[in-house]
Amino acid sequence: MNKNKYKLKIQTLVVSSFLFASILTLTNCDTDETQTVASYTQLVMSDEFDVEGAPNSEIWNYDTGTGPALDGWGNNELQYYTDRSENVTVQNGLLVISAIEEDYNGAAFTSAKLLTKGKFSQAYGRFEARIKVPGGSGLWPAFWLLGENVDVDGWPQCGEIDIMEYRRQEPTKVSGSIHGPGYSGLTDPQGQVTKSYDLGNDRYDAGFHVFGIEWSPDYINYYIDDVLYNQITPSDIEVTPADAVYILNDGVAATADTEAIPGTDITGDWVFNKPFYIIINLAVGGNFPGNPDSGETFPQNMLVDYVRVYK
């Protein structure tokens, strides 16, 4: 019931071209004066990280190493991911992902990347986690989802929903984004669809915050704590085959007519209509945060209090 009511409300808003402002205005005029942040309430999966030691193997897998192309996971990241207890463990009711400065298989840092690939995935619903990000420079903690067809159709066709990405250059902000074909972030005219939320008078590394999305066939809503700060809908995908220019990884521009890379669909499709799995990781360095300052303190810990999925 809740779900339907909420959808109706949203659909009336979608008509408006300035979504975010409209939502705020409307909710401000609501009789109860509280913003409806989330409406999916039936818990499907959760990890409260209550059992000390290695994370629950029924939920979590690991990506290890430096990426399939040995290029720092496509982003020039510096860490070697492991599943060692030094890099990932559950302690005191928290998942602790530790980025460590050490020589390890040719990398200068180690860290961990957990994923539910092959163990849990879901289309639509509410995905949230309560996280405290580490405070150091040159770190890239993230909580995100990837379409489970990634191995078949590749990225960005599989779709990517970034619920939380943080870097110390902007300690009061995190961003939530989607990436897909024609709006992968490597594309022009439209890059990823993204928005950041600024705490204003606080910083994310100072405490825990709840980062979540609520995802239906027609929209993805982004919230932090009790604030709904963005909604992305299919109408935000502006790219059409006619105007798309696809910038390949080698930096060469290709149009729809000339590009011949298999699977590089540039139609700007809304691809968020199939199951996605969860990823939580702490990268070191790379294109987004830059490298750590010289003399930065390590280890740096990303703490996760819980991960919950509702429908």
Binding site: G135, G136, S137, R168, Q169, E170, P171, T172, L199, G200, N201, D202, R203, D205, A206, D293, G295, T297
Partner: protein
């Protein structure tokens, strides 16, 4: 500025003693006591001074006292700001601008803030020397400063984080600044400051305190030596994502010694060494500071021979036996090129000049120059610890600045005193005592020590520098 710093450490020493004594008879505060409610105002200057009282601006000695004014034609999003006219280097009324802003009356309770912030711009792009808060011409107990503040010709916001606001429950030192013309070739300029206030930003994080600038230092010291812990800083990450390092007074730190009976450290960062070896560490606001000092006692200090001449026959430049003539500084460096540092120390009340990483250094007496026309000899004691480098070759130059009393004013004359390796012994005070041959010696302005002929002397002590007859 050197004078001010010197006084500061002296005052700290004295008050350190006082504090220790009164601590011992401290009693718990009765529940009946009602604390005075101090002002929690954060604003210092918005369009006019806020709550400072009438007598709040105290210029530094030697600075231009009229440098500060309220400019009603400039302001950050307003029509008034504080204007600072930094004088030309040759301004007879003062060759720099600098002052403290101290509340005229009770202090303020600043415990709920996390930064001093202000907007500033200048008449030209310029780097000004120091700004900060917590200087009150008293103990300056909670002084904080930022060095080398770069101003542009547009208004910019500056943030100076408070290392630990819980200490600032009764603070009168709202703001202080010191700005000269070192970076402008001696030419004056103007800068403006507006919206000067303490604020709770909430966006300052990642505190990283440090002592000795974060280095782990091992130092040999003599028994009875008092050392001052230096390089006290706190680095924060600001809301802009940029790291900001400020210089922090010792009283913000909690110091600890691995063995207080061997090396005791006061809340003012003064270390008294008795014997043995101990490690000094610190924390600030519960965060362990980077850096440590390991002090190794190397036994009793051997003092220089005590001068016995009658004081009426002596013009003393540096000694504890005689009253010294006015000296600008004992550690004048010429840049670029000089590497010399100072680690002066005091043992049982005897002050010793200690030059480190030496290549050359000067002692200056410009106001006034020294009239040694009645004197016949120059004397000093020198001590080279550990060992004498094989290439030791040392030159002392006594420089008279002539009638115009200006360094390099065209009429300077010099007497050179060479000290070669045959005259020195390791770990031994030697005496240099030579007749003055300088014909004109009524305007002595400089005594220069330097390594010559590629001498690698790095580390030595000097005491009892005087002229006599």
């Amino acid at each position: 500025m050197k004078n001010i710093k010197f006084m500061y450490s002296k005052i700290m020493l004295l008050t350190g003693l006082l504090f220790v004594i009164t601590m011992s008879c401290e009693r718990d505060i009765s529940d009946q006591v009602e604390f005075a409610h101090l002002s929690k105002t954060g604003e210092i200057f918005t369009d006019s001074p806020i709550g400072l009282g009438s007598d709040f601006y105290f210029p530094y000695t030697g600075s231009k006292a009229t440098a500060w004014s309220v400019d009603e034609g400039e302001g950050y999003e307003s029509f008034a700001s504080m204007r600072f006219d930094v004088p030309n280097a040759n301004d007879p009324a003062g060759n720099y601008a600098g002052a403290i802003f101290r509340v005229d009356g009770s202090g303020r309770d600043l415990t709920e803030f996390d930064a001093l912030t202000f907007w500033a711009k200048a008449s030209q792009g310029v780097v000004i020397g120091e700004v900060g808060f917590g200087q009150d011409f008293g103990l300056n107990k909670y002084q904080v400063s930022e060095n080398n503040v770069s101003l542009s010709t547009n208004w910019q916001k500056f943030v100076i984080p408070i290392p630990d606001a819980s200490k600032l429950f009764d603070e009168r030192g709202m703001f202080w600044y010191s700005a000269g013309t070192q970076n402008t070739g001696g030419n004056g300029y103007t800068f403006w400051i507006d919206e000067l206030k303490f604020e709770k930003l909430g966006t300052i994080g990642q505190p990283r305190p440090a002592i000795l600038n974060g280095n782990d230092v091992v130092q040999d010291v003599f028994d009875g030596n008092d050392l001052e812990l230096t390089g006290l800083t706190q680095t924060f990450n600001l809301g802009s994502g940029i790291n900001k390092t400020v210089n922090v007074a010792p009283s913000y730190f909690d110091f600890s010694s691995s063995d207080p009976s061997l090396a005791f450290i006061s809340e003012y960062g003064i270390i008294s060494v008795n014997n043995g070896s101990a490690v000094i560490t610190a924390s600030l606001g519960g965060v362990e500071a980077e850096g440590s000092l390991t002090v190794n006692s190397v036994g009793n200090f051997q003092f220089a021979p005590i001068p016995t001449l009658d004081s009426s026959d002596v013009l003393s430049v540096f000694s504890d036996v005689y009253t010294n003539v006015p000296v600008d500084y004992y550690n004048g460096f010429w840049t670029p090129g000089s590497s010399t540092g100072s680690a002066d120390f005091t043992i049982n009340g005897d002050n010793i000049l200690h030059y480190t990483n030496f290549n050359y250094v000067g002692t200056a007496m410009s106001s006034p120059t020294l009239d040694a026309s009645n004197m016949t000899n120059f004397h000093l004691n020198m001590y080279v610890p550990d060992n004498i480098p094989a290439d030791f070759d040392f030159l002392i130059s006594i420089e008279d600045w002539g009638a115009n009393q200006i360094d390099n004013g065209g009429d300077d004359t010099r007497q050179q005193i060479f000290v070669d390796i045959s005259q020195v012994q390791p770990d031994t005070w030697i005496t240099v005592d030579v007749p003055l041959t300088l014909t004109s010696r009524n305007n002595i302005g400089l005594i220069i020590y330097e390594n010559i002929n590629n001498s690698s002397l790095s580390n030595f002590y000097i005491d009892n520098v005087y002229f006599y007859k």
